[in-house]
C-alpha cells in the first residue's frame, strides 16, 4: 500500500472530519479576543520545599471557589492575574505535599504576596481520587488500596507506550511484555488471575468512559473458528497503547473486588482509570505549548544470551552438521522517532488541551516489520455557571503495523532461521518475507461529562461515552510464493463499540462531627463486537490482490452484543475527619446471563482510620492511615455461553448445513469474586519514608468451569458451569524513601514488592481441567500450572528418573510450576543533582513462574539447539560419562517437554535515563523551558531460563491462561534521545 493510499484512507475517516471540525471550532474560540478585563488585582509568591528551600515547579496555586489560578514556574514562583478584589483563600496543591491555604486580601491594580513553604509527605491523604468511589473523595476516606501514577512520576523514564507507563509503577499491577516486535502490546494482570474461562484483564476507563480492554485480534484467535490464512504474526497490538502517554495526567489503579464493587459485573480483574490533561490551573488567557522530539534506535544484541551460557552461541554459531544459525545476519538497527505537540490553556470559562503525536518504530528485522501511528486529542471543558461544568474529550488514533510471519508456524521467520537447514525453506529463509501482514487500527474515544453542583452539598454527574476500536488485518501470500503457489489473501475485520451511560449523584451533609456522603447512580454499558473475515485463494496470476481476486472465496461474519446495566447506592460516614465507614451495594443485570438467572448484587464495606490525627500517635509517624475493605464484583459469561446453539456450516459446495456448536446452560451466571483487604499507609521523617502495605485475600465463587463433554453426545468441547472456587492472596508493599535530601542533592529510592498466590479450591466433580496443552487448573495447585515429566535425579550421571504423581490419571505428569509470576519486585532510583540534572533507573524482577520453550524443543530435535550441541555429540558417540540425567532428558532426540519447562524468573533493567533541564539563562528565546533526555530501555537482563527469553510468548491464537515461548523475537534494547520544550 502506498503512502497515498494510506493518506487517503486516513483522511477519509468520518470521525477524523468530525474531529477536525471540533478542533476548528475550538481554535476559533481561542482566536476570539478575551473579554474586557474588569478591575482586578494580582497574587504572587513562591512555593518552596520547607526542608530544602527548593522552589517547587508545577505547584497549582488558585483562588478557592474560582477557576482563577496559575502554575508555579521556575524556582517555584507564581503569578495569578485577574484576581477579583476582596478577601480570598489562596490554596496550593502539589503531589507529595499537603494542601495548604492562606488568606489574602486583594486590591485593584496591586500585587498581594502569599509564599508557601510545604513540608513533603510521602503519603498525601488530601489527594483526590475518583476510581472505585462514587465521586471525588480524599484518599483519607478510601478504605481500599489505590495506586496513582502521575505524569511527573514517569517523566524521567523511557516511555514509548502506555504499557511502559504502567510497567513497574504500582504494586499488584503486572505488565507482561510478550516480545520485541514493533507494535506489539503487553498483557495486563492485576493481582494475578482468578478466572479459568473469562478474560482476566482489568477494566479500563479513559476520563470516565469505559474503553475496550482487550487486544487487537488477528486471525487464529478470538471467539470465531474463523478462516485460517497461511500464517500469523504471533503477536498482537493493544488498544491501551493507542493513548498517547504525553496526554496522560494521571492513572489510578484499583486492584481487587474490595475496591471494584461499584463497577459490578466485569470488574473482578481490577480497574485502571486514565485521566488526560486539561487546561485547568492555568492563568486566564494563557496557552502553554509543549513539544517533544525523540530520536532513538532499537537493537537486539547478539551477545545477549541466557545467564550462564555462551551468549554468542544463541545467534551466531555452527551446529554439529556445520549448519549456521545466523540470526544476526537478519538483524538490523531499528530507527525510532516520535514528534508530539500539545497546547493547553484557559480562556474565560473554557479550558482546553489539544495534542498531536506521530510515532514511527522500525523493528530490528530488516524487512518491513514496523509500526507507524498518529494520535490527536482535544479536551475541552466549559463552565457556563459556577454550578455547571461540561467536559468534552475526544481521542482519535490510527496505527499501521507491518508484521512478518512468526511464532511456531511452518512459515514463521524465526522458526526457519533458527532451525538452520532443517526447516521448511531449505535455508532460503527470505522466502518467508514474501508473506505480508498489515494491521490498520483505528481508535476513537469520545465522551461528554456533565457536572451540576447547585450547592456545596449536592453534586450530580452524568457521562455519555463512545469507544470505537477497529482493526483491519490483511494477510497476503502472493501468487507464486513458495508456500501457497496460487496465492491467498485473508482479511479480518474486527470492530467493537462500547456505549457508556453513567449517572451518579452525591449528597454531603455534616451532622455534628459526623460527615455523611450519600451516593446513588446507575450505569449502562452496551458493547457490540463485529468480526468479518474473508479468505480468497487461487489467484489467476501475479497481481495486487483483493478478496475478489481468488477463484475460491469464503466469508465469516459474527455480530455479538452484550448489555450490562447496574444501579448502586453508597453511604460514607466520616467521624471527626479521621474515621470513615463506607457501605455500598451494586445490583447488576447482564444480557449474557442464562435465562433462568436473575439480577446479581455486589456488596461493599470498608473503613479507614487516620490514626496519625490522634493525639496519642507518635509524631515521628507523621501520616498513618489504617484501612480495611470487603467487597464483591464479578465477571459475566461470554455472549453465547448460556444458549444451546448450532452453527451454520457449508457442506456440499454451496449447500447449507448445521453442526453442534454449544450445549448451553440456562442457569449460567457470572463468577463472583469476594475480597477482603487490609493495610496501612504511612509517611515519616519529613516525608522521606513512605510505606504502603496491603494484604488481600480473594475467593472467586461460582467460577465458570469448562466441564468437558463426551463427544459421543454430539456437542464437543465443554459446557460452562458455575461450580468452581479459586483463591488468590498476596501482599503488596510500596516503600518510597529519600535518603538524601538537600537543596542541591536528592536521592530517591523506591522498592515495590507484590506477591500473588492462586489456588484452585474446587472444580466440581472433576478435580482437574485442562486449559491447554500441559497447562491445567487442578485442585490444590495454582490456577494455570504446568504438569509434565520432571527429573528427580537431575545432577546424577545416570538415566533420568521421573517423578510420579499420586493421581494415576496424571502418572508422570507432575506439577512443575505456575504459568504466571507469583513474585514481583521493582527497584527505582532517582538522583537529582542541583536544579537541573536527574539520573534515574528502574529495574523489575518477576519470579515464581515457569515457561515451556517450544523453540528449544524443536531445535533440539533437529540438533540445532546450541546448548545441546556438545551433549548430543557425546550421546551419539555413546560417551555418557559426564552427561547428567537432566542433560539427557533435555538433549535427547525427543526431549522431555517437562525438562524444557523451566524457571522463567528474570530481572531486567527496564530504564536508565538522564534528564537535564537547561537553566533559564540558557533556554533559547521563545521557549520557557528546554530539557534534554537520554534513555536506555532493557539494558540488560539476568535469567536462567532455558529458552530464548522469558518475556517472549505467543499471544495470537492461544488460550488466555497459557504461555509458551515459540519462535518469537525477544524484547529489544532501545536508546533514545529526546528534546522536551515548552513555550
Amino acid at each position: 500500500m502506498s503512502w497515498t493510499d494510506v493518506y487517503r484512507r486516513v483522511f477519509s475517516a468520518q470521525a477524523l472530519r468530525t474531529l477536525l471540525k471540533v478542533c476548528a471550532a475550538v481554535l476559533v474560540l481561542l482566536a476570539l479576543p478575551a473579554r474586557g478585563a474588569a478591575q482586578t488585582g494580582t497574587v504572587t509568591g513562591q512555593v518552596t520545599d520547607a526542608t530544602t528551600g527548593r522552589g517547587l515547579v508545577g505547584a497549582q496555586v488558585f483562588l478557592v471557589g474560582t477557576q482563577i489560578g496559575s502554575l508555579a514556574g521556575g524556582e517555584g514562583r507564581y503569578l495569578i492575574l485577574g484576581a477579583p478584589p476582596g478577601t480570598h483563600q489562596v490554596q496550593v496543591m502539589l503531589l507529595g505535599y499537603p494542601t495548604e491555604t492562606q488568606e489574602v486580601t486583594i486590591q485593584v491594580d496591586q500585587a498581594s504576596v502569599a509564599d508557601f513553604a510545604l513540608t513533603p509527605r510521602a503519603i498525601d491523604l488530601d489527594e483526590i481520587v475518583v476510581t472505585g468511589t462514587a465521586g471525588a473523595v480524599g484518599r483519607r476516606e478510601v478504605g481500599n488500596s489505590i495506586s496513582a501514577i502521575n505524569a511527573e512520576d514517569v517523566r524521567g523514564r523511557a516511555i514509548k507506550t502506555m504499557d511502559d507507563v504502567l510497567a513497574a509503577s504500582a504494586t499488584g499491577l503486572d505488565i507482561l511484555y510478550t516480545g520485541g516486535d514493533a507494535g506489539s502490546g503487553a498483557t495486563i494482570r492485576i493481582r494475578g488471575v482468578n478466572s479459568i474461562t473469562q478474560e482476566n484483564e482489568p477494566l479500563i476507563y479513559v476520563d470516565g468512559i469505559r474503553v475496550y480492554s482487550g487486544h487487537y485480534i488477528p486471525p487464529k484467535s478470538g471467539p470465531l473458528p474463523g478462516l485460517t490464512t497461511a500464517s500469523t504474526p504471533g503477536q498482537r497490538s493493544s488498544p491501551l497503547n493507542d493513548i498517547n502517554p504525553e496526554d496522560v495526567a494521571r492513572v489510578e489503579v484499583i486492584k481487587g473486588a474490595a475496591a471494584t464493587t461499584l463497577y459490578g459485573t466485569e470488574a473482578a480483574g481490577g480497574v485502571i482509570q486514565i485521566f488526560t490533561k486539561s487546561g485547568t490551573g492555568l492563568q486566564q488567557g494563557v496557552t502553554v505549548w509543549d513539544a517533544k522530539i525523540t530520536q532513538g534506535v532499537s537493537h537486539l544484541p547478539v551477545q545477549w544470551g541466557p545467564h550462564g551460557r555462551p551468549s554468542e552461541a544463541w545467534f551466531n554459531t555452527h551446529g554439529p552438521e556445520s549448519e549456521g544459525i545466523f540470526l544476526d545476519q537478519w538483524l538490523d538497527y531499528g530507527y525510532f522517532q516520535e514528534y508530539s505537540l500539545s497546547a493547553r490553556g484557559r480562556r474565560d470559562e473554557l479550558t482546553y488541551f489539544l495534542s498531536g503525536r506521530w510515532l514511527g518504530d522500525e523493528g530490528v528485522f530488516p524487512s518491513d516489520q514496523q509500526s507507524r501511528e498518529w494520535t490527536v486529542r482535544a479536551n475541552t471543558s466549559f463552565a457556563p455557571s459556577s454550578a455547571i461544568t461540561i467536559g468534552f474529550n475526544n481521542h482519535l488514533s490510527r496505527r499501521r503495523v507491518d508484521w512478518i510471519a512468526n511464532g511456531g508456524e511452518a512459515e514463521g521467520f524465526m522458526l526457519n532461521v533458527l532451525r538452520g537447514g532443517r526447516d521448511y525453506t531449505e535455508d532460503q529463509d527470505e522466502l518467508v518475507l514474501e508473506l505480508d501482514f498489515d494491521d490498520y487500527q483505528t481508535h476513537w474515544i469520545s465522551g461528554i461529562d456533565f457536572g451540576y453542583q447547585p450547592t456545596t452539598a449536592l453534586e450530580m454527574r452524568a457521562a455519555l461515552g463512545f469507544d470505537y476500536v477497529e482493526q483491519e488485518h490483511i494477510a497476503d501470500t502472493p501468487f507464486g510464493s513458495w508456500f501457497v503457489p496460487r496465492g491467498e489473501r485473508g482479511l479480518a475485520g474486527f470492530r467493537t463499540e462500547t456505549k457508556t451511560i453513567d449517572f451518579r449523584t452525591t449528597y454531603r451533609a455534616d451532622v455534628g462531627r459526623i460527615a455523611t456522603n450519600t451516593s446513588a447512580g446507575f450505569a449502562v454499558f452496551d458493547n457490540l463486537v463485529r468480526h468479518t473475515h474473508g479468505l480468497s485463494t487461487t489467484f489467476a496470476g501475479p497481481q495486487e490482490p483483493t478478496l475478489t481476486s481468488g477463484a475460491v472465496r469464503q466469508v465469516v461474519e459474527n455480530r455479538l452484543r452484550e448489555v450490562n446495566a447496574g444501579f448502586f447506592v453508597q453511604e460514607v460516614l466520616g467521624f471527626a475527619d479521621r474515621v470513615y465507614l463506607t457501605a455500598g451495594l451494586r445490583v447488576d443485570g447482564n444480557s449474557a446471563f442464562g435465562s433462568d438467572f436473575g439480577l446479581q448484587t455486589y456488596p461493599k464495606l470498608s473503613g479507614s482510620y487516620v490514626i496519625s490525627d490522634e493525639a496519642f500517635w507518635p509524631a515521628a509517624l507523621e501520616v498513618t492511615k489504617l484501612r480495611v475493605a470487603f467487597g464483591e464484583s464479578g465477571k459475566a459469561p461470554g455472549f453465547f455461553d448460556a444458549e444451546r446453539v448450532w452453527s451454520p456450516i457449508q457442506t456440499k459446495t454451496g449447500q447449507p448445513g448445521v453442526s453442534p456448536q454449544n450445549l448451553g446452560n440456562a442457569a449460567l451466571g457470572p463468577e463472583r469474586t469476594r475480597e477482603i483487604e487490609a493495610g496501612f499507609e504511612m509517611s515519616a521523617w519529613d516525608g522521606r519514608v513512605g510505606l504502603d502495605f496491603s494484604y488481600y485475600y480473594q475467593r472467586t465463587l461460582d467460577a465458570l468451569v469448562p466441564v468437558a463433554l463426551d463427544p459421543t453426545l454430539g456437542f464437543q468441547g465443554s459446557q460452562l458451569l458455575n461450580i468452581g472456587t479459586i483463591d488468590n492472596k498476596g501482599i503488596e508493599v510500596g516503600l518510597d524513601t529519600e535518603p538524601v535530601r538537600t537543596r542541591d542533592l536528592s536521592w530517591q529510592l523506591g522498592l515495590g514488592l507484590s506477591t500473588n498466590r492462586s489456588e484452585v479450591i474446587d472444580l466440581g466433580e472433576d478435580d482437574a481441567v485442562q486449559i491447554g496443552g500441559r497447562i491445567w487448573a487442578r485442585e490444590g495447585y495454582p490456577l494455570a500450572s504446568y504438569f509434565d515429566f520432571q527429573v528427580t535425579n537431575p545432577d546424577e550421571i545416570a538415566e533420568p528418573v521421573y517423578a510420579e504423581d499420586p493421581d494415576p490419571r496424571f502418572g508422570r505428569r507432575v506439577f512443575i510450576g505456575p504459568v504466571f509470576p507469583e513474585l514481583n519486585w521493582t527497584v527505582s532510583s532517582a538522583l537529582r543533582i542541583g536544579d537541573n540534572l536527574q539520573i534515574s533507573a528502574r529495574g523489575e524482577f518477576k519470579g515464581g513462574q515457569v515457561m515451556f520453550s517450544r523453540t528449544a524443543e524443536a531445535n533440539t530435535q533437529r540438533g540445532t539447539w546450541p546448548a545441546c550441541f556438545d551433549i548430543q555429540q557425546k550421546m551419539a558417540a555413546g560417551n555418557l560419562s559426564d552427561v547428567t540425567a537432566l542433560q539427557r532428558s533435555r538433549c535427547k532426540e525427543r526431549p522431555d517437554r517437562g525438562s524444557l519447562t523451566t524457571n522463567a524468573d528474570f530481572f531486567r533493567l527496564r530504564s536508565l535515563a538522564l534528564s537535564y533541564d537547561l537553566p533559564q539563562s540558557m533556554v533559547p528565546g521563545g521557549l520557557s523551558s528546554l530539557a534534554l533526555h537520554v534513555a536506555a530501555t532493557n539494558l540488560f537482563k539476568i535469567t536462567d531460563y532455558w529458552g530464548l527469553d522469558p518475556e517472549t510468548w505467543n499471544t495470537a491464537g492461544e488460550p488466555q491462561l497459557t504461555r509458551n515461548e515459540n519462535y518469537l523475537l525477544p524484547p529489544v534494547q532501545r536508546f533514545d534521545f529526546s528534546l522536551r520544550m515548552s513555550f
Binding site: P225, G226, L227, T228, A410, G421, R422, Y424, E426, V484, A520, F522, V524, Q554, V556, L560, R561, V563, A565, G566, F567, V569, G589, N590, S591, L599, F640, E643, R644, V645, W646, S647, P648, I649, Q650, T651, K652, T653, P656, G657, V658, S659, P660, N662, G664, A708, D710, P711, T712, L713, G714, F715, Q716, D766, G811, A858, Q861, R862, E893, R894
Partner: protein, 425 residues
C-alpha cells in the same frame, strides 16, 4: 429506587439476542431437515478426514504413508503407538463420535416430526451417514460406546451400521433414490464382510454396479478448513507426511498403478531426511474420499471365490480388473498367495480411505488363513515401511519390538474416559 432500577434494567435490554447461530429448537421443523442432513454429511467428512481428524495418523499407523516430520504425533503413530493418555491427542477421534450422534439424533428429530420425511430420500441419506459413521468408528476403535453408555464389543458399531444401511436400502428403494440404495448395499456389504457374513456381503455386493461410487465430500469453502481433505493437506502445503518409504511408493514406481499415484518432490520432507513424495490420489483439498465403490464389491466377490475353494477363479477376477487398468497381474501358487494378493489389492483399492483398521479387525478373525490372528508382523505393507525406514533413518525405528506390538485400533480418548462414568470417568 426499585422503580428506577427496574426502569434501567428494562430499558437497557437484557433481552439481547445475537444473530448467527441457530437455536436448537429451531431445528424441529421440516424446512430445517435438509440443512440437518447436509450437516450430517459435513460432520462425517470432518470426522473421517477433515481438520484434526485421525485420518493421517491412522494412515501412518498402517503404513499407508510415512511420518517424514518432527511432529510427535505422527512419529508415535509411525512406531505403532496411539497414546490416548496424551491430552494433546484427544481430538482425533472425537469428531467421528460427534458425527455419529449428529446423524442418529437427526434421524430421531426427523422421525419425531413424522409425516412424509420418514420415507423420503432425506431419511435414506441420513441413514447412510449414520451407517458410515458407525462403520468408521468400528474401523477406528477397539471397543464401542454409544451416548455416554458402557463399553461394548467393537462389533456393536458394525451391527449398528448394518441396521442403518438396511433402513437406507429400504427407504432409498421406496423413494426411488437409486444412488442412495446402491450406497446402502455397498455399505452393508462391507460391514457384513467384517462381521463374518460372507454370503450376505456377496449378495449385497451383487447389487452394486462396478462403476458406482459414494463419497464423503470435501471442499475448500467450509470455514476453518474443517472439510479440507486432511491427507492432501498434510502432504502438500504442510509436507508433514510422505508416501516415500512406503510399500505404496515402491509399488507405484514399479507399476504406475493409477489408483495409488504419488509424486516425488525431489526434496526432503519436514524432518530434513525422508524423501518428500506427495499423495496424488487426492490432488487438492476438495478431493472427495470414497466410502463405497463398485470395485470394492468386485473384490468381495473375488474373496468369496478364494475362500470358497476356487482361489484361481478369484485371482483371475482380480487380475482381469488389473488388466483393464493396465497393471501387471498378481502371481500365486497357492490359496495363501492368492489371499495375500487379495489383501494387497484391497489395500490398493482403498488406499488412504481410512479402511485398514477394519481390515485388520476382520483378518484377525479369519482363522482360515490366520489361525493365530493377523498382526502387523504378517502385514506386507507395514513391514515394507519399517524396512525402508530402518534403512534410511535407523535411529528412529531402532525398537524392533514395536514391529510385533503395534496398535491396530484406538482406545477411547482421554476426554471420553474422563466424562463417561461407565469408562471410569
Amino acid at each position: 429506587m426499585s422503580a428506577l432500577l427496574a426502569a434501567v434494567v428494562a430499558t437497557t435490554g437484557c433481552d439481547v439476542t445475537n444473530p448467527g447461530n441457530i437455536l436448537d429448537e429451531n431445528l424441529n421443523r421440516e424446512d430445517a431437515f435438509q440443512a440437518l442432513v447436509n450437516g450430517m454429511a459435513g460432520d462425517f467428512s470432518l470426522g473421517l478426514n477433515g481438520a484434526n481428524s485421525g485420518a493421517v495418523r491412522f494412515a501412518v499407523l498402517f503404513g499407508e504413508i510415512w511420518a517424514g516430520t518432527s511432529g510427535e504425533a505422527d512419529l508415535f503413530a509411525a512406531r505403532g503407538i496411539l497414546p490416548t493418555d496424551r491430552p494433546d491427542y484427544n481430538n482425533w477421534t472425537n469428531n467421528a463420535h460427534a458425527a455419529r450422534w449428529v446423524a442418529e439424533d437427526g434421524i430421531r428429530r426427523m422421525r419425531e416430526t413424522g409425516g412424509a420425511v420418514e420415507s423420503s430420500a432425506l431419511m435414506a441419506e441420513a441413514r447412510l451417514w449414520a451407517g458410515f459413521s458407525n462403520r468408521l468408528l468400528g474401523d477406528i476403535h477397539c471397543e464401542a460406546v454409544f451416548d455416554n453408555g458402557p463399553a461394548m464389543p467393537r462389533s456393536a458399531y458394525y451391527e449398528r451400521a448394518e441396521e442403518h444401511f438396511t433402513e437406507a436400502i429400504g427407504v432409498g428403494m421406496s423413494s426411488g433414490a437409486s444412488d442412495l440404495t446402491y450406497a446402502g448395499y455397498g455399505g452393508r456389504a462391507s460391514v457384513r464382510l467384517i462381521l463374518g457374513d460372507l454370503s450376505g456381503a456377496v449378495a449385497d455386493a451383487g447389487q452394486v454396479p462396478t462403476d458406482f461410487a459414494w463419497y464423503a465430500e470435501f471442499n475448500d469453502v467450509a470455514q476453518g478448513g474443517r472439510q479440507t481433505n486432511a491427507v492432501w493437506h498434510e502432504t502438500h502445503p504442510r509436507r508433514n507426511v510422505t508416501v516415500g518409504l512406503t510399500w505404496f511408493r515402491d509399488y507405484y514406481v514399479e507399476t504406475g498403478d493409477p489408483r495409488v499415484p504419488s509424486q516425488d518432490a525431489n526434496r526432503a520432507g519436514g524432518d530434513g531426511i525422508s524423501p518428500l513424495v506427495s499423495v496424488e490420489k487426492y490432488p487438492d483439498g476438495t478431493s472427495d474420499v470414497p466410502l463405497t465403490k463398485g470395485s470394492e464389491m468386485r473384490l468381495i466377490e473375488a474373496e468369496a471365490l478364494i475362500r470358497g475353494g476356487q482361489w484361481q477363479q478369484g485371482l483371475d477376477m482380480i487380475n482381469a480388473a488389473r488388466a483393464e487398468i493396465g497393471v501387471p497381474a498378481w502371481e500365486a501358487m497357492s490359496v495363501e498367495d492368492a489371499f495375500e494378493a487379495l489383501i494387497l489389492e484391497r489395500g490398493i483399492d482403498m488406499w488412504l480411505e481410512a479402511r485398514r483398521g477394519g481390515e485388520f479387525y476382520r483378518l484377525n478373525q479369519l482363522s482360515q488363513f490366520f489361525p493365530g490372528g493377523y498382526t502387523p508382523a504378517d502385514d506386507t505393507i507395514i513391514q515394507r515401511m519399517i524396512d525402508n525406514v530402518k534403512a534410511t533413518l535407523p535411529a528412529v525405528m531402532a525398537d524392533a519390538v514395536l514391529r510385533q506390538n503395534r496398535a491396530t485400533c484406538w482406545g477411547f480418548s482421554e476426554v471420553m474416559r474422563a466424562t463417561n462414568p461407565n469408562l471410569g470417568g
